[in-house]
C-alpha cells in the first residue's frame, strides 16, 4: 500500500517536472522568436512612416538619397546597384556552385572531391569581410592590366553600339559593381554547392542506376535525369542564397564602395545595404529616416524571395 502511494508521488513529481520542463522549452522558443517579430515590426512601422515622409513609395524607390539639408529623397541608385550586383552574383554563384555541388555529391569516392568538400565547408563559414578584403586586393592588383589589355580595347571596339554600353563595359575603377558581384558570388558558391551536394547524395541508388542505364552520356545522366529529381532542393537553395547575398553589406564595403548617384557600373556603385550602414550612423534625422525606409525595402525584397522559395520548396 505504502509502496504504491510512493510510486504515485513519484509519478506526480515527474509530471510536474514534465510540465515545468516543457514550459521552459516553450519559453525559450518564444524568447528566440520574439526578436524576429520585434525587428520586422520596428523596421516596417518606422520604415513605412519614413517612406511616406520622404515623398511616397515611387519617389522613394527612384529618387536620389537625401542630403542632410533635404526634406525628401529616396534610394534609387542603391536599389539599382543592389539588384544588378545581386543578379550578377546569384547567376555566377549558381553557374559555379551547381556543378561543384554535383561533383562533390556524385563523385564522393574521388580524392579530390573530398578536398573540394572540405574547401567548400570552410568557405561557407568564411567571414564575409575577409571575402570583401580579398576581392579588393585582387582588384587592386589586376585592375591596370585588365583595363590596358582587355577592357580598354573592348570598350573601344564596342563604342559604335552606343553610349549606353559604357555604363556596363569599360575601364574599371578601383571600386566597381563587378568586384561587388564577384564578392557576392564567392559567398553564394559554397552555399549552393553544399545544398546541391547533399541533395545529390540523397538520391536513391536505384534511381541513379536507372539514370545511368538509359545509356546516355554521363553528362546527361547527371545534369538532365538526376537534376529533375533534385531540382526542387536546388531551386530553393538558389533562391535562399540570393536572399542571403541581397542583404550582405560587409563584402561590398571595399568592392562596390557605395555611391549616391546613378552612375556607370564600372565605377563605385551604391547598394541598399551600404546606404543603411552609412545613413544610420549619420546624425541627420532625414538620413536616418531614409535608412529605415531602405531597411523596409530590403526586408521586403528578401521576404518575397523567401516566400517564393517556401512555396516552391
Amino acid at each position: 500500500m505504502t509502496a504504491g502511494r510512493k510510486a504515485e508521488d513519484i509519478t506526480a513529481v515527474r509530471m510536474v517536472i514534465n510540465w515545468l520542463g516543457l514550459g521552459l522549452f516553450a519559453l525559450l522558443g518564444v524568447a528566440a522568436v520574439v526578436p524576429l517579430f520585434l525587428i520586422i515590426g520596428d523596421v516596417y512601422v518606422k520604415g513605412i512612416d519614413a517612406i511616406n515622409r520622404l515623398g511616397g513609395l515611387w519617389a522613394f524607390l527612384t529618387g536620389l538619397p537625401p542630403t542632410p539639408l533635404d526634406e525628401r529623397g529616396g534610394i534609387g541608385p542603391m536599389l539599382v546597384g543592389t539588384l544588378y550586383m545581386t543578379a550578377l552574383g546569384a547567376l555566377l554563384g549558381i553557374a559555379v556552385g551547381f556543378p561543384l555541388g554535383v561533383y562533390i555529391g556524385e563523385m564522393r569516392r574521388e580524392k579530390f572531391a573530398n578536398v573540394a568538400r572540405a574547401g567548400v565547408n570552410v568557405l561557407v563559414e568564411f567571414p564575409t569581410i575577409v571575402v570583401g578584403l580579398f576581392v579588393y586586393a585582387v582588384m587592386s592588383l589586376a585592375k591596370e592590366d585588365l583595363n590596358r589589355y582587355l577592357l580598354g580595347p573592348l570598350s573601344k571596339a564596342l563604342s559604335p553600339v552606343g553610349g549606353w554600353i559604357t555604363w556596363f563595359i569599360g575601364p574599371l575603377d578601383g571600386f566597381n559593381a563587378y568586384a561587388g558581384a564577384a564578392a557576392l558570388a564567392l559567398i553564394m558558391i559554397p552555399y549552393v554547392a553544399l545544398i546541391t551536394a547533399s541533395a545529390y547524395a540523397s538520391i536513391e541508388q536505384p534511381l541513379r542506376e536507372a539514370a545511368y542505364a538509359t545509356g546516355g552520356r554521363e553528362f546527361n545522366a547527371l545534369f538532365v535525369v538526376l537534376r529533375k529529381a533534385v531540382s526542387r532542393a536546388v531551386v530553393t537553395a538558389a533562391l535562399l542564397g540570393t536572399a542571403k547575398i541581397a542583404g550582405e553589406t560587409a563584402p561590398l564595403l571595399f568592392t562596390a564602395f557605395g555611391n549616391t548617384y546613378y552612375a556607370p557600373f564600372t565605377g563605385p556603385t551604391g547598394a541598399v545595404s551600404l546606404w543603411i550602414w552609412y545613413a544610420a550612423q549619420t546624425p541627420y534625422d532625414v538620413q536616418i529616416a531614409s535608412a529605415y525606409g531602405a531597411a523596409a525595402v530590403l526586408l521586403t525584397i528578401i521576404l518575397i524571395i523567401f516566400i517564393v522559395a517556401r512555396i516552391r520548396g
Binding site: I17, P127, L253
Partner: protein, 151 residues
Amino acid sequence: MTSPYTLFTAGVLLAIMITPYAAAVIREGYALVPKPVEEAVYAIGATRFEAVLIKLRYVRNYILGGFFLALGRAMGETVAVAMVVGGNFVRFTTNIFESGITISSLIALQFPNAASYQYMVPALFAGALLLTLFGLVINAVAIYIIQRGQI
C-alpha cells in the same frame, strides 16, 4: 553605462543573430535520432520531457558542434556588430559595458582611412588573416566533433 554603444549591445545582437543558426544545427542532429531509440524511451514510461532529455543526450555532439559553428559565425559577423560596438580601438577594456571593437568591425570601420596611419593597412590584413585562421580552427573542431559521434 554612458552610451548604448557597448560590447554588451554587440553581444545581445550576436545572440539574436546566431540563435536560429545554432538551433538549425541541433535540429539537424535531433532529426537523426533513430526511431527505435525514441520508441524504447517512451516504452519504459518516460514523460515527454524525460524523452527530450534522453534524446538531447543522444545528440550531444551536435549541440557541442553547433555551439562551435555558431561561435565561428558570430566571430565573422561584421557590419551589424560594427554599428553598435562603439569602435573603440585605442584602449583595451574588459568591461562589457564600455565600447570596444572586434577584428571584423575594426576592418570595416578603419579600412577606409587606413592609409593615413603608418601601419594600419598591414595590421588590418593581418587581422583578416587571424580571423580566417580562428574561423578555420573553430570550424575544423566543430566538424570533427559532429563527425566523431556520427551514428
